[in-house]
Amino acid sequence: MKGIIFFLIGIFFGITMTKSEAISWFRIYEMFRFESFHMYGIIGTAVVIGAISMTLLKIFKVKVAGGGLVTYTPLPLNIKRHLISGTIFGLGWALVGACPGPMFVLAGNGYFFIIVVIAGAVFGTYAYGMVRDKLPH
């Protein structure tokens, strides 16, 4: 039954990604050319409001589902890893013009060729799992 809740939040996410135009390949191209404030406005607003709400949840020790508090398990700081992995992701993001969330939402919008991109992402994830022991973390 809990699945229904996540399904509904997912629907809201799909609608938001579409109506925000964040799923647009063209918007991503425009963003990396710094020719519009649109995407920066979206991410900036989300982070500012998100940071305020997460901080309030922590200050007031609000209990979440399952009875726990809001926590975040930090990644061990490894500057090289963060920059390299981020750069690899960014190269792909600007090429296919979609990050993981929008890939699925684009499929719902009727752009079925995006399934090839999703398949590529699954291969990439699999490849990482196979070589992760050899990479700096």
Binding site: F13, S24, Y29, R33, T45, T87, A94, V105, G108, G124
Partner: protein, 189 residues
């Protein structure tokens, strides 16, 4: 009147607020907002967990994500097919001009007319399109798993928790994105 609310795209501030609300809802539901782990779950469901512990699909911890992604696809259908914005994304004129130089005519490069995806370029019968889609997807999948998160996990969730690793990762996103957009894309497309 109601149509003016349902069909058009949203202002960036409304969109940002909505994303923050999704972060809030998933947090309250005891989950961490991050989409790229879905790819790992797909590997796990396909059986990769048998050979490699990393891909193991844990029903208790991972199944919510499949419901979420199913919803995201349905949400895309609702917002883009049932209640589509009648106007294409309004891009900056400099962007449209730059696209033209790459051989992508806007907005006709999107056959559905929304300005969401250049499917005139990304066609089923184009070998180039397959290579680029697979390679680009590969980079996104590999990069996000190595980074342990994508735009939702790092740029939204991580930054909302004031995480330095997430900030560095997002800087990486931009290093890669700027390199691709300004130096590589003109040779690739």
């Amino acid at each position: 009147m109601l149509d003016d609310l349902i069909y058009p795209s949203w202002h960036w501030s409304i969109s940002g607020l909505a994303i923050a609300f999704i972060l809030f809802l998933l947090t309250m539901a005891g989950r961490s907002f991050g989409v790229s782990t879905t790819f790992k779950n797909i590997c796990g469901l396909a059986g990769a967990g048998k050979k490699n512990e990393f891909f193991k699909f844990d029903y208790k911890e991972d199944s919510w994500r499949l419901f979420f992604i199913g919803g995201a696809i349905v949400g895309g259908f609702i917002a883009g097919v049932i209640f589509p914005n009648p106007f294409a994304v309004s891009l900056d004129s400099d962007t449209i001009f730059a696209l033209e130089k790459l051989g992508i005519v806007y907005p006709t490069a999107d056959s559905l007319g929304h300005g969401f995806f250049p499917d005139a370029y990304f066609r089923w019968d184009s070998l180039n399109a397959w290579i680029i889609a697979l390679a680009g997807g590969f980079l996104v999948g590999f990069g996000s798993r190595y980074a342990d998160g994508c735009t939702s996990g790092h740029a939204i969730t991580g930054l909302s928790h004031f995480q330095l690793p997430s900030l560095l990762t997002v800087i990486g996103f931009f290093i890669g994105g700027l390199l691709m957009t300004h130096f590589l894309l003109p040779y690739i497309l």
